[in-house]
Symmetry: C2
Subunit: 367 residues, 2 copies
């Protein structure tokens, strides 16, 4: 769902770019206000707000953009303050999720810089502070994520009466579902090996639905529609498009996490295997592989010290079990459902075109 | 600020008890709804909501009660749904803060049960799951705290138009300040030893102001007033009462954390010293002690493996440096300011009486 796919040949490109700029400006203004506020508490607390500001300065603004087109498809005006506010709230929520995700996944980098907990542990090391630098980094990043989560809500609350009760419901539901989905994800990492391999695919599919597809695709699009007062029928159509699209996006992400070109993805080869992510791709592998191969995958997945040879052997098992081919088939099937639903949406051509570009980018990307 | 101090002789006791019951019922209903919602995602995700429910079932409801009397003092009706909603939102926010605090402080217990991260790591151990139980416990508790933070906001947003822009501002400010204050607290633990000992008291005073006094005392009372549409003059009077009271409360807490009776506080003797909390009590010690004693305190504070003899030596230094006596003087002085301000508040006698009981409980308690 790369925003860069909207080129100058696309009539909606300029409009989308203007929206992205407006969201960036809103976030910059908001963070500058927070910086002034925190400076009065203590200059030493500014690193909290600077960490958030740096994080929300980057990113593809995928969720905000989907929210925008959901709004436009439902007749929302292109220069409305409300949709910029909603987009900024989504971006702040995503930043909060990333800060805490990176602690949970022990990720060192994010959006081209150090992850927030690494930034704080580096600050500790540079200053030669007492006690443990990793523990300080994690503690400070927990608090920074909490602050960012509060900022997201503060931004959303700026909508006031503009947010219908349905829009508020979507925002609340999105938060609950993504946190439950993230929990199921970390639960699967530890409990998956002991569960029946016949249900591994179903378990992984539930995780990507809540953690990714609903959160990153369906809810942002529906939120935009709900803010513009869309009838339930249109919102259902949005879901029929965005849910399978989000699932296809995540399946593509899972494939890239194992087989992607590190030069393009920015992640080391096999990173997802060392992290122990039990994706649909892994579920299909475990379901189809023989016992020896399955046991090898189960006992090595999540070992951060896995050797290159072990990584290669797991990749070979994924390949020979047909799991990769079946995942690609699933991506095709889900994309087909998404684009069929898109074709039936009663929305303006330029909105439909913008959504189709986002959709194509989501499933055919290489990074 | 023990709610139990409001006895049957107090005319406001029944009213306060009815409010506390209403908040508990509201929380129970809300959590039951969330349980139904999460059950549809996955029965395995129910532990998230059960952890939150168990946490919000306990506690003294101190912040909710202050909010209530702030509301009543400003003319709010005693049977209003709005103040129950605000009280429930404060309780959910406090639960979220506790969940994340306990990860940061590595606390094993909370409100008579295991802390949330310990609950999840025990679940991991009981089931013999793969990978690391402590890491799983922390990750799951980060997500549970995030969910609880979102629930708090969802509850507050239920106020809709009932919440004036000023009430919303207080709620937002409270969140930002407490997170900044908590950061300054963990920063002081690691950077305090390298900073001038002459400013240790000032630094500790800033931390308790933002982390405790404003969050736990001033903002809840002012929030209640703002919800009832109190004029700014009354809100200023609330601050003049609740801010020094909250500071005195925290100073008392710091004294109990070192010198309290473990049988009454429920915390092991010297627990705060092993945690490395750099309180005003410690600041006064460092300011007044000779170099050898100061270095001993600086180099041992925060060592989780400190011996009983080391703990006793630090206690002796706190005592001989007059830091304990000076802290008690500060508590007296702050209490004096608070009760003077209370006497001048233009509020009904029963509200004033309820606040004075809360205030007396806050500063003279032994647990």
């Amino acid at each position: 769902m790369s925003a860069s796919l909207a080129t100058s040949e696309d009539p909606s490109a300029a409009e989308q770019a203007a929206f992205v700029t407006a969201v960036a400006q809103r976030l910059a203004t908001f963070m500058a206000e927070k910086r002034t506020f925190l400076a009065e508490i203590s200059p030493e607390s500014l690193v909290l707000v600077d960490s958030i500001r740096d994080l929300v300065t980057g990113g593809k603004r995928m969720r905000a953009i989907l929210c925008y087109w959901g709004w436009r498809g439902a007749g929302g005006a292109d220069s409305s303050e409300a949709i910029v506010t909603a987009g900024a709230a989504l971006e702040l929520f995503q930043a909060a999720a990333l800060i805490h995700d990176d602690i949970i996944d022990r990720s060192d980098t994010r959006r081209g810089g150090p992850s927030v907990h690494r930034r704080f542990s580096a600050l500790h090391a540079q200053n030669g502070w007492a006690l443990d630098e990793e523990r300080f980094g994690n503690a400070a990043a927990i608090l920074t994520g909490d602050l960012c989560l509060s900022f997201s809500e503060e931004m959303f609350a700026n909508l006031g009466n503009t947010a219908s009760s349905h829009a508020r419901w979507v925002f609340n539901t999105m938060r609950t579902e993504v946190m439950a989905g993230q929990y199921l994800d970390i639960l699967e990492e530890v409990s998956g090996p002991g569960k029946p391999h016949e249900t591994a695919v179903a378990r992984a599919a539930a995780i990507i639905r809540y953690k990714s597809a609903k959160y990153s695709s369906e809810h942002p699009l529906v939120l935009g529609g709900a803010l513009a007062g869309a009838p339930q029928k249109l919102l259902n159509g949005y879901s029929a498009f965005a849910l399978p699209l989000g699932e296809a996006f995540q399946l593509r992400d899972d494939v890239l996490g194992v087989f992607g070109d590190p030069a393009k993805t920015g992640k080391p080869a096999g990173d997802d295997l060392r992290e122990g992510k039990r994706t649909v791709l892994i579920g299909l592998t475990i379901e189809a592989a023989g016992k020896a191969d399955r046991d090898f995958v189960d006992s090595n997945l999540g070992r951060s010290d896995m050797s290159e040879a072990d990584i290669e052997r797991i990749c070979a098992i994924i390949f020979s079990s047909q799991a990769l081919a079946r995942t690609e088939e699933m991506i095709d099937s889900l994309s087909g459902s998404a684009f069929s639903a898109l074709a039936e949406l009663p929305i303006a051509n330029d909105v439909s075109y913008a959504l189709s570009l986002l959709g194509q980018g989501a499933v055919s990307r290489t990074a």
